[in-house]
Amino acid sequence: MSTTIIYLAYLVAASLFILGIKGLTKPRTAVRGNQLSALGMFIAVVVTLLDQSILSYEWIIAGVLLGGTIGAVMATKIQVTAMPQMVAMLNGFGGGASLFIALANFLDPESATHTVALVSISLTVLIGAVTLSGSFVAFAKLQELISGNPIKVPGNKVLNAILLLSALGLSVAVVMDPSNTALIYALVAVAIVLGLLLVIPIGGADMPVVIALLNSYSGIAAATTGFITGNTVLIVSGSLVGASGIILTQIMCKAMNRSLFNVLFGVMAEGGETVDADEVYAGKVTSSSPEEVAMLLETAERVVIVPGYGLAMAQAQHAVRELSSVMEARGTEVLYAIHPVAGRMPGHMNVLLAEAEVPYDKLIEMDEINPQFEQTDVAIVIGANDVTNPMAREDKGSPIYGMPILNVDKARTVVVVKRSLSPGFAGLPNPLFAKDNALMLFGDGKKAIVDLTQSLKEAE
């Protein structure tokens, strides 16, 4: 097949990707968008297979069969609660694919001939390897293979700066002396370590930023791969994905009122005076029971449920949906308030609740729901902590001051379902728990909700 036809087909594929991404930004067009983009991928792959430079198909067939099976099994078997891990892993594979393509092109005497190709190979190796190992750490944290808490690496910033500079130095060296293959393997090693160290210090609550950023990297790596052989479809699609990842990263940072730099280097704002948890809570925390809360819900006209990562941990999404159904059957209006960074990836709560068949028009964004808390009888907070902490609004000395929060304390009564009074990711006590209108329902999220539902049913 002639080059012209191949490139025209790539143009069609790129256009379909653009339409696909555009479709994915609106609920009504999302399914179609995804299908268009899959069609684009199909076209791009088929015309590539007809390329004259492909001499044998054994490796290709084996690779596609193996990868396709693994991908299909993963996508169908994965639990919805494990979706953040799945996305992290897919990002990593994307980066890994670009890394190996760059290495293959480096060893191909016909490909690694000119400076542009060598520069692109070096950049792809760097970004691809960082994406691969960084995503692997993110996966391990989300899967709880390693602690989800921030892990302090001494001299982290200095070490990362040294690694980044060595990686850039090695990249230059690869371009200057491509015959020395040891250089590129050293680059791979340094970039892998850099990726590990970049993500290890980042704690669970900042994961949405990391996942969005790695998503962006996987796109940028695909784009730089395109520069190696001058492949237009790779450049266009890779940069589209890179841009979309950066925008999601920005949205996440804004929702935490933190700069990307501070998230990446685990910097929390300096707190003025340390707040003593005992002082905040002493004698002011009211513990409640499912029966008591059920009595409140019996007369409530409007209830807002505020889910957090704890909901996913306790796998309580179906129990919550059941509770909502019982309340709705009694004529209570039930809504869900979604903080943009609730959970471990962008949109985590939405996916989780969708799995439990909560209609998405019941999930209300922060800016829209906040003015409505004053007309809310009961707000039920399940597994969320920092995103409801009034210190972010009131305490100028607090490290989280300025972070947009859900104003649950404005509701007539706030019920907090939580195991204990332990602090959230920010390590701060939450004065919400000590407020006069707050009731603590201690216990496992799922069990507490099931008991609550039972009590409410018995009240009939």
Binding site: I21, A30, V31, L99
Partner: protein, 91 residues
Amino acid sequence: MELLLLLTLFMVAVFLGVELITKVPPTLHTPLMSGSNAISGISLVGALLSAGSGAGLWVNILGFIAVVLATINVVGGYMVTNRMLAMFKRK
């Protein structure tokens, strides 16, 4: 000259991406991520060329690994996105 054209293409695509995705409802944040991730599996195209090239066994092997990873990315990404969107659709 060709490099300049490719760089132009790159920059225009970045701006286009930024313009396309300014306002995304949070409901679609995860599907957008997994869907766009599937698109970044377009590196499969590069992987196929290496896996099938006549440039030697090592090029083929590295290409093969890249084909496996990129195909997982493509197939897994599109299927999981589709699965999520199906959950959003039902009422």
